[in-house]
Amino acid sequence: MTQNKTLIEAIRIVVVVLIALAIGFVITALVSKEPVAAYTALLTGPLPKISFENGFAITNINRFGNWMEESTTLILLGLAVAIVFKARQFSLGAEGQMLLGALATAVIALKLALPFPWHMILALAAAMAIGFLWGLLPGLLKAYLAVDEIVSTLMFNVIALQLFDLLLFNWLRDPTAGFVGTVPFPDSAVLPLAISGTRVSWMIFIMLAAVVIVWFLMERTPFGFELKMLGANRKFAEYGGINTKRVIALSMAVSGILAGLAGAHLSMGLLKRLTINLSPGLGFEGIVVALLARNDPRWVLVAGLFYGYLRTGAQIMERSSDVTREVVLIIQAIIILLITAEQLFPRFQQWWGARRNNEAAMERG
């Protein structure tokens, strides 16, 4: 029975993606002189090209790398959001936690001299710790003072951004650089490469481990059970004896750990330094991933890869065709919109089921 459901769900997603892509193509056709080429860039851009003309060769490995880098960050953020959403806490704090995570890595990387791998490990730990703290605070406010978490986390994002700018400008910045940013991190605090020719680092393994750990946390620990019950019905959880205040605070804090790691990925893996405007709004993309994945860590992996692919393809389409960035973003948004429109397909099923039921009832009559 459940298997049947998963199958229906899979079919649903495939159908919706196809519909969304078709709509995307119609829009592309409206604005582009070469819609097919442009759309091909979107759809196949992130794949490495394999050619057999002069013997076997793989080119464009960097595009594949872009896809993996993008997805790694997105998956970490998606996991962060999935944890809080599972507990039905609408924390929007990933953005701030990510910024502070990156900031913490810069402080450790630039202000401490340590050998590899301790330097790297300490920087990662600092990013996770600050993320934890930056989630815990609004979590405690929500749990004990009933401060709405949407408001508080957005405010914490503002504080995080200002802290980030403040420390970067006044303390960490490299005054000789032509832009606002730090000097490159020492190698001891940089994540080693996993695929040469790209910027895909060890973070991809950390990310995979995180998927497993978060899944384990949700499905195989009492805390995960508490998270689920809190999300399903807070009063019920309380009635059952669960200390919901503790769970609320902890869910937001644990979520922060993953967002902090995403920040560490940006600084220690991709840029290898800290710059201003690190990646505005990225923190919110985690929400898209978590929604697509219905807060299931395993699906966060899939959804993160899908969304990363889409975003990378969109960048490539933007670079290699006459379709402007705005249109690309619109197409991307429509695809996500359709997929997250949970009711689209169920409505149809309902309508269909009711019709058959009616007929059957009338036939018996």
């Binding site: 029975m1 459940t2 499905e219 195989r220 620990t221 009492p222 995960g224 059970f225 508490e226 689920k228 019950m229 399903a232 019905n233 009063k235 019920f236 959880a237 309380e238 009635y239 059952g240 004896g241 669960i242 200390n243 309902q350 089921g353 009711a354 039921n357 009616n358 009832a361 009338m362 009559g365």
Partner: protein
């Protein structure tokens, strides 16, 4: 003679696919009181909504006074002399009773409502049908019983010959029910016809001339009331024999399990909801708590189970003080709780049955070992409990949402009973569940008592308390106004007097009569002045 109303071969399929009525034939003679009975969801309200024009039948015909009629909407129904009082009242709270009665066809003076005329109309109606109301009172400040009379008068004002009353007694005290029955008889004496929906069998026997029984959307019986027993009707409702009377061996009271002393709870609004309540619950007995809803029972239970903090007083379970402790600690001290509002805190609709069955125990073996949770153990327990408690569902992984009310309640009962508590607190344990599940819950409660557990049964259904409890504590305005030994000598009317605040025992504040000689010396308290009943009833509605 052809029937006054005849519904022929009525079928109704709701847009969501639910078949609420299947080929229903239903006939009412002029001047009779016709009971329409069936379990929740049997399709009674649907059938009556069709007669009142609120729903359109998918199939079938309606004949009235020997003529085929189409009832497209309630307006048409009213024109035809059909009136309906709904399960949920539909009055304007901020209007006066007189205004509500004439609403829709108001007497006017110029362009404005003629208030004096409206009040005069109301008084005349009220007198001629013996339905006493206060025309100038606002609906929001009147008690439920009076609101119901207003609804009835309203339909009469619009010229109804046929009155449909949808579960009118569900919200009434025994006294109010008696008054309603008197009024209904008077209506019939004056030539009206009444369709009376209920699922209480006692009422069917008491009030009706004939009865139509429905089950799963179909008519399963149509008989003259005098020809059948309550058990016969129950069998038609449920489809099998039902044991209405529970066999209870005499009480064998053991040790004191729960001691409640001078317990008080003041709500956030500053209103005292539980006032200086003291009682004991003994092993091997069921202590019933009766009372009109909203007199502090909910708060008492929530304080005792750790869901709300007590403001004053003491609670001891097996001698250990537990007030102020968390819900989990109190559960661990041996208290289980069937909550009164199962959808609010008794279940998580989106979680699975298995998860619902583990919410109080997931963190200890066999469900969690060395910090690792075993979904398999949770599932294994669920399969066992579902079998033991006869929970009908697609499987232990099915979401709670997919269960019927009765089966949901069985899940709760299964969880709380399997916790092996010393004290079981059951609040409204059969509300909204069908006869089959009610019978089940009752048998289980008595079984726990016979096993030597202490049971605290809080119920607004007086018949339930009287058939199960060994002693009955009555709550009124947050206080326990009497603790009565249950037995053949105790009548509903007697308890009703306590429920309405018309009678109170001076000894009731402490552990009282009947609780073997060891009852502590209770503080007695000066008696209150006797108050006229109308005022009390109004206060009561404000108290909610």
């Amino acid at each position: 003679m052809s029937a006054f109303v005849e519904m022929k071969q009525i079928s109704k399929v709701y847009p969501n696919g639910v078949v609420a009525n299947k080929h229903v034939d239903f006939a009412v003679e002029k001047g009779e009181i016709h009971a329409l009975v069936g379990e929740n969801g049997a399709g009674k309200s649907t059938l009556m909504k069709i007669l009142y024009g609120l729903e359109q039948p998918t199939h079938g015909e309606i004949w009235l006074r020997g003529q085929r009629v189409e009832i497209a909407n309630p307006h048409r129904a009213i024109d035809l002399g059909i009136g309906m009082v709904h399960q949920n009242f539909m009055l304007v709270p901020s209007f006066t009773i007189a205004e509500n009665i004439v609403l829709g066809s108001e007497p006017r003076k110029g362009r404005f409502l003629d208030r004096a005329q409206a009040i005069a109309i109301t008084e005349t109606l009220s007198k001629s049908y013996g339905l006493q109301v206060d025309p100038a009172a606002r609906i929001e400040s009147t008690p439920v019983g009076m609101r119901q009379r207003v609804e009835i008068l309203k339909t009469l004002y619009r010229g109804a010959d046929l009155l449909i009353l949808d579960e009118p007694t569900a919200v009434l005290t025994p006294q109010e029910t008696d008054e309603l029955f008197l009024a209904v008889r008077k209506l019939v004496d004056q030539g009206k016809t009444v369709i009376f929906i209920t699922h209480k069998l006692v009422e069917v026997k008491e009030i009706s001339d004939r009865v139509t029984v429905m089950r799963h959307g179909e008519v399963t019986g149509r008989v003259a009331t005098a020809d059948v027993s309550e058990a016969d009707i129950a069998r038609m409702m449920v489809g099998r024999a039902v044991f209405l009377q529970i066999d209870k061996p005499p009480v064998r009271r053991g040790r004191v399990v729960a001691e409640v002393r001078n317990l008080g709870y003041v709500a956030e609004t500053g209103r005292p909801m539980v006032r200086n309540v003291s009682f004991d619950v003994y092993a091997g007995e069921i202590l019933g708590v009766a009372g009109v809803e909203g007199n502090g029972q909910t708060e008492l239970v929530e304080v005792m189970t750790g869901l709300r903090p007590a403001t004053t007083g003491e609670i001891r379970i097996d001698g250990k003080p537990v007030q102020g402790q968390s819900a989990r600690r109190i559960r661990l001290s041996g208290v289980a709780h069937i909550p009164e509002d199962r959808l609010t805190n008794g279940v998580a609709l989106d979680a699975s049955i298995a998860e619902n069955l583990a919410v109080d125990r997931y963190n200890r073996p066999p469900f969690t070992r060395q910090g690792i949770l075993s979904p398999r153990a949770i599932q294994t327990q669920a399969v066992a409990l579902m079998q033991q408690f006869d929970i009908r569902a697609a499987g232990s992984a099915a979401p709670m949402r997919s269960l019927s009310g009765g089966n949901m309640q069985k899940v709760i009962v299964a969880r709380e009973f399997s916790a092996e508590p010393a004290l079981l607190i059951a609040a409204q344990p059969t509300r909204g569940v069908d006869i089959g599940a009610t019978e089940f819950v009752h048998t289980q409660l008595v079984a726990k008592r016979n096993e030597g557990k202490a049971v605290l049964l809080v119920s607004a259904d007086l018949a339930e308390v009287m058939s199960l409890a060994d002693r009955i504590a009555v709550m009124y305005k947050g206080e326990i106004v009497g603790i009565l030994e249950n037995g053949p000598h105790l009548t509903e009317e007697e308890i009703g007097l306590y429920m309405l605040g018309l009678k109170r025992d001076e000894g009731a504040r402490g552990e009282g009569r009947g609780a073997r000689g060891e009852g502590r010396r209770e503080l007695s308290r000066p008696s209150r002045k006797f108050q006229p009943s109308r005022k009390i009833m109004q206060r009561r509605s404000q108290h909610r």
